[in-house]
Amino acid sequence: MSNKIDSAISRREFARRAAFASAAASLAPSSLLPPESVAAPWLTQQPANAPKLSPESQAEVESRIQSIFAQYGKRLSDAQKADIRRLATEAQPPLDRLRAFATNNGDGPGLYLKPLMEREKKPSPMPVTPKRANPPKNS
């Protein structure tokens, strides 16, 4: 399409945004991975036009991919695994940019908790006559 524009930042299509969002967490130790997955080509082949990543970021991508495959590998086809590898790789640069953005300790996250206040509940009725305490049984 003639409108194709190089994007160093992100993609317009919401679909794509949601899809390209990726992970930075769950590090799966390789010892926990099924041994057959280690040799599989979709685990090692870099996607064409893959973004250039630092060794640390690349390692993070790898751990993320392996975590996904360890958890869900049985239900994925080879083509889907290759696609996941690509998605996870392409998602890393936005994550790196976000982490590099300077924030101060006092910057609060734009997420507000509205405490569930008692006003939203009906007050408990007060007893008309206070109950007499039961006499102690063994005194």
Partner: protein
Amino acid sequence: MPGEEIFYLSVSELAKRVEAKKLSPVDLTQVYLDRSQKLGPRFNAYAVLTPEIALEQAKAAEKEIQRGHYRGPLHGIPYAAKDLLAVKGLPTTWGAKPYANQIFDYNATVIEHLNRVGAVMIGKASMIELAGGMGYRFASASLQGETKNPWDTTCWTCGSSSGSGAIVAAGLAAFAIGTETWGSIICPSAFCGVSGLRPTYGRVSRYGAMALAPSMDKIGPMARSAEDCARIFAAIAGHDPKDRGTVPIDKGAFTYSPSMELRARPLKIGWLTNAWKSLEPGVAKPVEAATKILKKYFSSLKDVALPVGPWEDAGNIIVAVEGAASFRSLIRSGRVSELTDPLGQIAGYVNEQYSAADYLQALKVREIIQKKMDSLFETFDVIAAAAQPVPATPLTLNLETDLAFPDPLGGIGNICGLPAMSVPCGFTDKNLPVGLQFVGRAGDDFAVIQAGRTFQLHTDWHKKHPKIH
């Protein structure tokens, strides 16, 4: 029986006739139903038509109006609701196969509001599966199939409020309700040549609506004019204790009457110089003409640039994390594989692994850009740009590889919950609609409506409609 022109009348014009008892809500509903039955499948515009509900509501409206109890401008007016809004007893599919048989036993608050003002629901609009929450590669990512653009059926309507856009553009209903997490009202409005309002986050209750990214989901009207959007917004806006994301009572409600414009302040508009990297030539021409109109009627129009930062990256992460949480059981159960789109079948696996630290960093960045935008709105009431840099795209396009460009305005507008409106501003050489977008300060929905309304008082692009036989 009403003639062909009735299908493209605005809500305001229809309302005048209904109130004056010159137009029967039952007749109006019946002709829209007939047209929707005939043409709806051509565009894949509907998830389901609801003739029984529609005629029952229309008869009730007619009876009331005959008795002199006129509820207001939506009374007896037919509309369609995006199929992610719960309607008691009807399937609410969220556009996705795993939810094809889902039925709720209550109405979404928006549906309740529209019932209260006497609007007539004639059907539920088709949509992209899960509003695109699991990603999608093709326009066909929907239980209903690809939604075709009434201006050119080889082109897409954009998503995820695809059916809502097609329904309004093709004159299948007087208005439709859409939703936006990021782009899902503004883009279909632009591609379909209709007016769409994305309200400030929290002004319209999401109770009973599918949750995708709860800190970004919004519900808004798609209609034939900015004025219509204002009237519909007035009916659906307001605090709702059932949606804790709604703003307080004193900030939620919205009232509108055309006389408000008489005492409205002159708007200071900023023309964004970096909303898009470039515009496709077919889009650039009408947008340039639109800026001349703006300069003429908003003498204070000045260039302004959006702040630069990782705002889109933050938005991507927020949507991904919240979406993965919203659909966690779908992902974990493996039923995500039932989605139509190949990307939708796998992206959730990637998205669900974000760390909490990265999510919170994204929320911190959100707070920073919110403050920056608030400062910008001390100088301008509204900022404006092309709604999209391209016109409607071919149905077969691979959205992932062939439609890629930065969208800082969409990113900022949605993570900050800012109101926006897209209005038609011309056509490309291939007769595809082009949209102009206004974005305002959080809570100042009236400013974007006023900007759209002023533009439409001096242009007639919003009155154009596709030739459908």
